[in-house]
């Protein structure tokens, strides 16, 4: 009586000894029953699969081993970011494929972001014709499969572009772009490359040998960006203390470009232009048709999706924010930069990163135009030559999975940093 009249203490559950039927009817134990049942079914299924696999492998007289990765590959790869020839191992070929996959993914991500941001912002513009044009771009690219776009760009490159021989003669049928520096032919695109007169050589880092000169370039750029951030932080501190923001633009330009320019001069950097020699172009960097087709196909296709993300991100910011910024006297440019964009980015970035994920996974379509990515080397020729489907596919899936998890891990870190801290 005394316990039930006091509302602050819960009445203790009636004491009952455990009965078997409680496993089915008592909410506290039922979930355990279901899980045990589920676990049992799943383990049964897994055991069945493993048993089948073992039996099948034994029937075929095969073992499960990754030793084939050390055997000589015996096939050539057209695009080689690191040194490779057909005498090297399957593992090395897979590494080349992986690097090709990553190169393509990064290039396509950059293109998709640039196109997507431009198209997304312009689609909201007051300009009628631009708005319509961007709508057409987004709808046409979004509603037609990527594979078809890749094939279309591949066909444009091989069928609609002039052959290298068209560049020959006094009155050639085709000419190079930008003052004889870029040649677009049906065998690929030739662009100038940067060479160093006093090259610093390369060093061995595991299986790859990066060039010291280029590693230093990356380090210098990183250091410049870091120094520039310090300058801006300092300016903000001064502004907070005194109310006057010191002019920083000339310091920023000096810090960002100066060291790199000095470095290039010190190493004697110069451009090597492609030239028509014999039946083909030589010199410069040769971007193969397969790379260009994949890059344009993935980049422009995904750009349409990014455009939609950007548009919805900007639309998600309520008009009150813009109006409040105007009421504070901010100009339209500053309103966009200081008020709208920081908030819109919070909405835009997560879907943007999942688009990056999609690009990375879609690089596996490279097979369609003969791009030698991970899927074409490890998951294609290597599997065909060695007959190791099980091991090869497993390894390839794990690599893709690892890349995806790294990207989505980065996204989670970003998300947790920008989430609104609500109190």
């Amino acid at each position: 009586m005394s316990t039930s009249s006091d509302p602050r203490t819960k009445p203790a559950p009636p004491k009952r000894s455990f009965e078997l039927s409680m496993l089915l009817y008592d909410q506290r134990y039922r979930s355990i029953t279901i899980q045990v049942f589920f676990l049992f079914l799943l383990m049964l299924f897994a055991a069945w699969l493993v048993d089948n696999t073992v039996n099948n492998l034994r029937a075929l007289g095969r073992d499960f081993s990754f030793a084939f990765l050390n055997a000589p590959a015996g096939y050539d790869i057209s695009q080689r970011p690191i040194e490779y020839n057909s005498q090297m191992t399957h593992g090395r070929a897979a590494l080349v494929g992986l690097l090709n996959t990553l190169i393509l993914a990064v290039m396509a991500c950059v293109l998709a972001t640039v196109l997507g941001v431009i198209a997304g912002v312009l689609r909201l513009s007051n300009n009628w014709i631009v708005g319509r044009l961007m709508t057409v771009y987004v709808e046409v690219f979004r509603n037609i499969p990527t594979l078809l776009w890749i094939l279309i760009f591949g066909a444009i490159m091989t069928e609609a572009m002039p052959a290298p021989s068209a560049f020959r003669g006094d009155t050639p049928a085709a000419s190079m772009l930008f003052n004889d520096s870029i040649a677009i032919t049906n065998r690929g695109v030739y662009v100038p490359s940067i060479l160093f007169e006093r090259d610093l050589g390369s060093f061995q880092l595991g299986p790859v040998a990066p060039s010291i000169s280029w590693v230093l370039v990356i380090l210098i750029v990183a250091a410049s960006i870091w120094a520039n951030k310090k300058i801006i932080d300092h300016a903000t501190r001064v502004q907070n203390a005194t109310g006057i923001r010191p002019k920083t633009w000339w310091k920023s330009i000096l810090v960002l470009l100066g060291p790199l320019a000095l470095y290039f001069i010190a190493l004697g950097a110069h451009l090597e232009y492609p030239e028509l020699r014999g039946f083909n172009f030589a010199g410069g960097t040769h971007l193969r048709n397969s790379l260009i087709a994949m890059w344009l196909g993935l980049g422009i296709y995904t750009g349409a999706f990014v455009a939609e993300n950007v548009r919805s991100g900007i639309l998600a910011i309520s008009r009150g924010q813009t109006e409040a910024a105007f009421a504070l006297g901010l100009q339209p440019g500053k309103t966009m930069r200081l008020v709208v964009l920081p908030q819109a980015l919070r909405v835009i970035i997560p879907p943007l990163i999942s688009q990056y994920l999609n690009i990375t996974k879609n690089t596996s379509l490279g097979l369609a135009v003969g791009y030698m990515d991970l899927r074409s080397t490890l998951g294609g020729i290597t599997i065909n030559q060695t007959g190791r489907e099980l091991e090869g596919m497993l390894l390839m899936m794990l690599i893709y999975l690892a890349i995806s998890l790294i990207i989505s891990g980065a996204m989670n870190v970003y998300n947790s940093r920008v989430t609104l801290k609500e109190r």
Binding site: N143, L390, S404
Partner: protein, 432 residues
Amino acid sequence: MSNIESHTIAYVRGTMIPEQDPPITETGAIKWLRENLFSGWFNTLLTILSLLIIWWSVAAIGPWLWNMVWNAGSLRECREILAGAEGACFAVINDRWHQLLFGFYPPALYWRPVLALILLFVALAPVLFPDLPRKLLWFSAVYPFVAYHLLWGGSVWLPIVALLGFVAGYVAWRLIHRMSPLASVFAAVIVPVLWWVILAAPLNSFLYSGLPWGLDFVRSDRFGGFLISLVIGITGISISLPLGILLALGRQSDMVFVKSVCVVFIEFIRGVPLITLLFTASLLLNYFLPPGTSFDLILRVIIMVTLFAAAYMAEVIRGGLAALPRGQYEAADALGLDYWKAQRLIIMPQALKISIPGIVNTFIGLFKDTTLVVFIGLLDPIGLSNAIRASTDWQGVYWELFIFIGLLFFVFCFGISRYSMYLERRLKTDHK
């Protein structure tokens, strides 16, 4: 008074000025042009750039489209008709459209896929448009079996026996539900599975030997073209939604084990490209199944595509579930609803409504992804376009085929996305 003022103060008007037209720059087309195209230097620049782009594309494609040829037997004939002019040779579509649509399906039986497609719209209508009579939903439920028989043919008893499996499950559920609701759920799962695994095949062959009714059997390798995209896409879409809902609920569940299995499954599927899953279906499945089993490649692909789409669907629906205010769950608890009733009556209708755009995007993505089956040797439109180009008549035909295939996909995907906009508008219950 006013009379006196009008005489004494010279600048007061006695009459109204007749209303004048607004300035010419503020009316009609000119005003519209000024406001929408030339409102500033930047906008003017954009307008000129856009006009240049449009002009450039029309100049590049216009004459080619204008000179199109529809009647020719080969690309060579096309070029003879064009006599040197640039022109599209759509004769290839005229010649091979049936292949691009149906693959190698026997031409005498084209009525079957066409009828299946028409019936599909009949079956979809009550699902898509709630104003139609609810009785039609019964047809929607039976449709998959009708469609299977129309497309593949063979024994008419096979789909009927398969359908009876669901009936058996329902009967088992009704019988046991009185005694134990939980056991009835298990029974509703186990009885149909047992039916299909043990009873279905003998029953089918017994009935077929007695009453050999049914349409002509068409082997799966005769399927191709847009037909195969539709079969894979629509089956995948209709199965991946319920599967995705289950996975999303599993991921939100309190049961640690169920939750972790769902998380691992979803993250694995989302982490690898679809093409690796398709290769698993075509290359590796033989390792995982008992020796000697082999089943239809299209069926394997459908299973993989469905699992793939279900993982994405689960994440979309999880987003919808997360967006629901906590109060909705609590209200359902307060009303005394059990878990499934709360999900069915309160949570899911709202969560699904929130996730409509994501669900539709997943559908469209799945439908577009059906083109990847070309990599494992199925002849979808893209695979057939390669095959057509390999023939001597049509060697070198690219753009016409790409345009045709692109248009087919565009019409479907664009149609789906417009429908989703209609749905969003119709389900909108807030006051905006």
